[in-house]
C-alpha cells in the first residue's frame, strides 16, 4: 500500500481551513473512498454528502485540486499523488459544513420555469405519438443528474454572484429540454431573455467541461436557445420573412 496526503476543507459556514490527512490507498480507489476512509478513522465528525457511489445521484460534488468533480467518479490514478490533493466544497453555494453546501437555491430556480405543457393527446386513450428522432435532442438533457457542478463552475454565478438574475447552465438545459420537446406547446423565449437572462452566458463552455454525464450543455443546449431568442427578438429580416409565409 502507498500513502498520499489529502488536504480537506474543514469548517462551518465558510469559516475554516485545509486540514492535512495522510492515508494509505489502494489501486482502484476513488476520492470518495479516501474521504470515507479518513472519516471512518481520524475525522468522524467530517460532513460529506454522498449516496450512490456510481455517478448517478449527483450528491458528492466537490472541487478536487480546484476542479469541480464528483468525488465518486474521480479515481486516484487520475491525480498526481506525489503532491497533496485538495478537496473543497463547491464555491457557488452557501457553505454548511466541511464538504457540504446548501444547493436548495437550485430547486427554487426550477420552480420558476414554466412546466411541461403538452399538446392535446394524439389518440383517444390520452396518449401521444412521437418519433425517436425528434426526442433525441431533449433526451440528451434528461441525462442530467443535477450534481450542479455546471452551476458551480459557471463564472456568472461563481464569481459575479448573479444568482438572483441568472438561472445557470443546469436550468438553461432544463429549459432547452422543454423547448425542444415535440409535445410541448409552451413558449419560454421571453422569459429566457428577460427573466432567466440567457444573455449573461458568454459561452466559455466551462459547464460542458465539468459535466460528468458529458452533456454538450453549451453546443446542444444553450447556443440553440440563444439562437431561438435571436429568432424572436433580434432578427428583423427573419421576422419579416415569417410575416409573408
Amino acid at each position: 500500500m502507498s500513502t498520499a496526503t489529502f488536504q480537506i476543507w474543514r469548517g462551518e459556514r465558510g469559516n475554516g481551513k485545509f486540514v492535512d490527512y495522510t492515508t494509505e490507498y489502494e489501486t482502484g480507489m476513488v476520492v470518495l473512498d479516501v474521504v470515507h476512509k479518513i472519516q471512518g478513522s481520524v475525522a468522524n465528525d467530517m460532513a460529506v454528502r454522498w449516496n450512490c457511489k456510481a455517478g448517478k445521484c449527483g450528491s458528492c460534488s466537490a472541487e478536487i485540486n480546484g476542479k469541480p468533480r464528483l468525488m465518486c467518479m474521480t479515481r486516484l490514478n487520475q491525480l498526481d499523488l506525489t503532491q497533496p490533493v485538495t478537496i473543497e466544497p463547491m464555491k457557488t453555494f452557501p457553505h454548511v459544513k466541511d464538504l457540504v453546501t446548501d444547493v436548495s437555491w437550485n430547486y427554487e430556480v426550477k420552480k420558476k420555469i414554466q412546466k411541461f405543457t403538452p399538446r392535446k393527446p394524439d389518440a383517444p386513450d390520452g396518449t401521444w405519438r412521437v418519433q425517436q428522432a425528434d426526442v433525441d435532442r431533449p433526451q440528451e438533457f434528461r441525462k442530467c443528474i443535477e450534481c450542479f457542478l455546471c452551476q458551480d463552475v459557471c463564472h456568472v454565478l461563481r464569481d459575479h454572484r448573479l444568482h438572483d438574475e441568472f438561472i445557470g447552465p443546469r436550468f438553461l438545459i432544463h429549459t432547452a429540454q422543454l423547448e425542444m420537446n415535440p409535445l410541448d406547446t409552451g413558449n419560454r423565449l421571453k422569459a429566457l431573455k428577460d427573466d432567466y437572462n440567457i444573455g449573461y452566458c458568454n459561452i466559455t463552455k466551462c459547464c460542458t467541461k465539468v459535466c460528468p454525464e458529458e452533456i454538450k450543455i453549451t453546443d446542444n443546449g444553450i447556443i440553440p436557445l440563444k439562437e431561438r431568442v435571436v429568432d424572436e427578438f433580434y432578427d428583423p429580416l427573419g421576422g419579416l420573412f415569417k410575416m409573408f409565409r
Binding site: 459556514r13 465558510g14 472541487e63 485540486n65 480546484g66 476542479k67 469541480p68 503532491q83 485538495t86 473543497e88 464555491k91 453555494f93 452557501p94 457553505h95 453546501t101 437555491w105 427554487e108 430556480v109 420558476k112 418519433q131 428522432a133 425528434d134 463564472h155 456568472v156 464569481d159 459575479h160 454572484r161 448573479l162 444568482h163 438572483d164 438574475e165 441568472f166 438561472i167 423547448e179 425542444m180 420537446n181 410541448d184 437572462n197 444573455g199 449573461y200 452566458c201 458568454n202 459561452i203 466559455t204 463552455k205 466551462c206 465539468v210 453546443d219 447556443i223 440553440p224 440563444k226 439562437e227 431561438r228 431568442v229 435571436v230 429568432d231 433580434y234 432578427d235 429580416l237 427573419g238
Partner: protein, 271 residues
C-alpha cells in the same frame, strides 16, 4: 427570479482574486495559446493589408497567373476613389474584410475563446477574474453578437467568391492572351483548398445549424432537412478545429501569393 431569497451575495468563501485558484494543472496554457494565435493572425493581417504594394506591383496577385489573395477578394478596387481625401490612407480590403472578420468576431466558438484569452472573463474555468462588474451579452456593445446569422449570410457569399477565385487560379497567361491557358500550379491547389476549409468552418456554424433545422422541434417529417441538420451537426462538433485551420490557412494563402509575387518563392506548374 428576484423573489428567490437566498443569502448568496458575496458567497460563503468570498470572491476569488484574479488568477486565484486551487487548480494544479497548467490552466494558463490554453488561454495563452489562444491569445498568441489570434495576435499572430491580427498582426499578419494588418501587415498584409497595409503592405499591398511589392515594388510597384500588387502583392495580392502573381503575374502570369489568375491567383488572387483571399484577403483582397473580391478585388473591388485597386486604388482610392477620386473623392477619397488624399491625406487619409486607403486600403481596398476595408470594403470587404468587415464581413469575414465580423463572422469570426461573432462566432460562438471565437466568442468563448476570446472572452477568456483576451478579456479574462474568466481567464479559465474556476480561476478568479480581474473585474467585479459583468454585463455578459445582454447589453450594447455585445448585443451585436446576436447579428451572427447576418454575418453568416455574407460568409456564405464569400465561399462562392473564393470558389470562383480557385477556378480563376486554374487559368494562366498563354499565347492567346492573359488567362487563356488552362493549367495547374501549386498555387492552384493552394487556392482550391481555401474555400473547402472555409466551407467546413462556415457550414458547421451554430447559427447555420439552427437555421437548417435546429429551430424545429420536429425533424422526422422532413428527411432532407433532418439529413442536412445531421451533416451540419457533424461539422459543428469540430467547429473549433475548422475555425483555427481555416483562419491560418487564409493567412498562408496570402503569404504564398505574396512570396510568389515578390519572387521569393517559385510557383511550380504541375500541368
Amino acid at each position: 427570479m428576484s423573489s428567490i431569497d437566498v443569502p448568496l451575495k458575496g458567497g460563503s468563501f468570498g470572491t476569488a482574486k484574479f488568477g486565484q485558484t486551487q487548480r494544479k494543472d497548467k490552466w494558463w496554457i490554453e488561454p495563452l495559446l489562444v491569445f498568441l494565435g489570434y495576435a499572430l493572425f491580427i498582426v499578419y493581417a494588418n501587415y498584409a493589408i497595409i503592405n499591398y504594394n511589392c515594388g510597384g506591383r500588387p502583392c495580392y496577385e502573381v503575374p502570369g497567373t489568375g491567383y488572387l489573395s483571399p484577403m483582397f477578394s473580391p478585388l473591388l478596387t485597386r486604388g482610392a476613389p477620386t473623392w477619397w481625401p488624399s491625406y487619409a490612407p486607403f486600403f481596398g480590403t476595408m470594403l470587404i474584410l468587415w464581413a469575414p472578420l465580423g463572422f469570426r468576431f461573432t462566432c460562438y466558438y471565437y466568442r468563448g475563446a476570446y472572452y477568456k484569452a483576451w478579456w479574462a472573463d474568466p481567464i479559465s474555468c474556476a480561476v478568479g477574474e480581474p473585474r467585479k462588474s459583468y454585463w455578459g451579452e445582454r447589453k450594447w456593445p455585445l448585443l451585436i453578437q446576436n447579428a451572427h446569422r447576418y454575418f453568416l449570410y455574407f460568409a456564405i457569399i464569400f465561399i462562392f467568391i473564393l470558389t470562383y477565385d480557385a477556378w480563376n487560379g486554374l487559368w494562366f497567361d498563354g499565347p492567346a492572351g492573359p488567362r487563356t491557358q488552362f493549367g495547374l500550379g501549386v498555387g492552384s491547389l493552394v487556392l482550391i483548398l481555401n474555400p473547402i476549409l472555409l466551407g467546413l468552418y462556415t457550414f458547421g456554424c451554430h447559427s447555420f445549424r439552427h437555421l437548417i433545422g435546429g429551430r424545429k422541434d420536429i425533424l422526422s417529417t422532413s428527411p432532407v432537412r433532418k439529413s442536412c441538420y445531421d451533416c451540419v451537426s457533424g461539422l459543428n462538433r469540430k467547429h473549433m478545429l475548422w475555425a483555427w485551420i481555416s483562419m491560418f490557412y487564409v493567412g498562408f494563402v496570402d503569404l504564398y501569393i505574396r512570396l510568389c509575387a515578390m519572387g521569393v518563392w517559385t510557383d511550380w506548374r504541375i500541368l
